[in-house]
Symmetry: C2
Subunit: 199 residues, 2 copies
């Protein structure tokens, strides 16, 4: 399936399903959330994932933990150079205002709520911290960081396995005023595929 | 006011009030949240604070941002060596189960909800990522981290200024199975004072 540039979607996974997210054109960040299908106030949580692994990075083989310390997903394959951020909040209209935008601007925050509403899935009260697939955020020893152009190449992909029934939300980040999606500042679409779906 | 070891409380601040949190005995971590008094789904947000400052540390003079990118609090004074973590989630019963506890164990997660309930303040659906005052979490260049014994000394304090009306929740962290509150693993109480309260 194609996910058009600047848009979001939900992907419902049953336990055991795998989701492949492919960076069709390269350098495109994909804000990614996962909510328990049973109880959407259980969601993929960056701090609980960091705490589980004792580091701020995720690698192939890592579980992605929810806010009750249960594993929701596992990253089982990654053909990209391995940058996946969990520190930077999803872009929102307030961020684009800071960058000088006066009218509306597509943003991952709204994509999250709109994708859930379109799927009829109950949304949490606010946007959890996303897993930003392919996003490159180098951290210096003193704790400073920058948002750099991603190293992910065309056709690089990540494969996530669902450890229980989950609703994943994907947003092809529409950031075109910073190098989040490459120095060309041209957001693109990505592709995704569900493997093993029972239905 | 004294905050007893292992317990939590709310502190209501009007815009302009200052809150001083004193590490009476030293080495005690204080999980700290701030919710907008007007709308408790606006809360102090670690990722939005990091993004605002471009670093994972906070210093005197820094604003503490909410999840809509508005400043809720400002850190205006800090007599401690300056370690304040925003990466580690609050301890909860699931964490103590991992550490071998079979019965109940006091925890910051429950302290958060119990303190808000006792004050009659509407709680969000889940516990936001806290600001862990005095918590020492060194990060290595490869992104690994550890939870070390705090360097905060007896009587070290932090002063926070409220930039709007907020409800602060404080929890004297009851962690006694890890060096979070010092190698002695003996949680203690702390003290807090509100300055400039209009009432």
């Amino acid at each position: 399936m194609e996910l058009a540039a600047r848009t979001g979607t939900t992907v419902e996974l049953s336990a055991g399903d795998e989701l492949v997210v492919t960076n069709t054109h390269g350098r495109q960040v994909v804000d990614t959330w996962a909510l328990s299908a049973e109880k959407p106030t259980r969601f993929l949580s960056a701090p609980h994932t960091w705490m589980h692994h004792g580091r701020l990075t995720i690698r192939v083989g890592d579980s992605l933990m929810d806010n009750t310390r249960r594993p929701l997903l596992s990253m089982i394959e990654d053909s990209s150079p391995g940058d996946h951020d969990m520190l930077i909040p999803s872009c929102d209209l307030a961020r684009y205002r800071q960058l000088g935008v006066e009218g509306y601007h597509d943003n991952c925050h709204d994509n999250f709520f709109e994708a859930l509403a379109a799927a009829g899935v109950e949304a949490p009260q606010f946007v959890p911290q996303p897993l930003n697939l392919f996003m490159r955020v180098p951290i210096t020893p003193d704790g400073a960081f920058s948002i750099d152009s991603p190293l992910a190449r065309p056709a690089d992909h990540v494969r996530l396995a669902a450890l229980e029934d989950v609703v994943v939300v994907l947003s092809a980040c529409p950031q075109d005023l910073a190098p989040t999606n490459g120095v060309g500042r041209t957001p693109t679409g990505v592709a995704y595929e569900v493997i093993g779906r029972r239905a």
